[in-house]
Each structure stands twice: as structure tokens, then as C-alpha cells.
Symmetry: C2
Subunit: 96 residues, 2 copies
Amino acid sequence: MYGLITRLTAHAGRRDELGLCLLDPNVKRPGCHSYVVAHDVNDADALLVTEVWMSKASHDAWFNTIRESRVMRPALGLIALWGDTVVTRPIGGVGL
Amino acid sequence: MYGLITRLTAHAGRRDELGLCLLDPNVKRPGCHSYVVAHDVNDADALLVTEVWMSKASHDAWFNTIRESRVMRPALGLIALWGDTVVTRPIGGVGL
């Protein structure tokens, strides 16, 4: 499995909008076992996005499709700061 | 929902053991929607634990039960550094 934890900071006051864009039900994620969008309770503009994919290949294939389709463009315009991504190797748990 | 993201650093060379302790199938987590234990690919001793609970109350009730039962004691002995926990408010996603 392949995991990512990313902190995204929205432009001031736009976090809810960014969260909705990231959760757009039209954006399918084949090979994604878990994708959680969450507010940082200590930063009014920050979201934490945690992802578990079947493999890096499945994530990268999705990412390339998304980039070409431009379906995530509204979300990208709302991001003020794209924090460092922590890359992980999930080994198990509840809900995988 | 109530979320937690925690970095745990195991004593040198003990990460696999710590991961197995955290994934002990005897430890039930009622009210937990997602619990993922993952290796940090850039730190050979670090784990990232991401959790989504129905509520803070369900997490705290579980935590109190665990503390009393001492079932997590083997895991605690393997942790060299308990990193800061990021508390989140999950709003949705895949697998919740």
C-alpha cells in the first residue's frame, strides 16, 4: 500500500469551499482504499488530507488522469499553501 | 467525527514490533471508523497513526478502557518518542 498525509492551507476563509471541492463525488479514485479530508482544529484555514492507495502506481495513474481532465482545477485555485507531503507505507488497521 | 494524526518513533530497530502491537486484533475499537498504522518511508523507526472516531467521547471512552486493561502496555514500552498529535475534524472521504 502507498500512503500520503498532506496539509493544505486554503486562502483565508475558503477552507469549507476547498473541502467541498476535494470531496467532489464526480472525482473517482480507483485503487484508493481510504481518503479522508479533515479540518485542523487548531488552524482555521488548514485541511489535513490522508490517503491510502493500493500502490504508488494506482495513485500516480489517478493523478495523471486528474491533471489531464482539469476536474481539480477549482480546488487548486483555493490552495494558498501546499504543505510537505509525508509519504507512508500503510501496514494495516481498521477500515482498510 | 474526531480525528488524530500521531507520529510515533520506536526504539531503534523495533518499529515492526511496535506496528504489530498497535494492530493487535484483540484490541477492539468501538466507534472507530478508520485506524491506519503506516511506516514513514523516510524514517526507519517512525510510524504514522491516523485515526477517525465517531466522536471525541467514543475515543476517550476507548482510551480509558485501554488504560485500565493494560493491553497496550507492550506497545508503550517500544515507543521512544511520542510526537505531537494533530487533532482533526474529518468532514468526509472514501472509506468512512
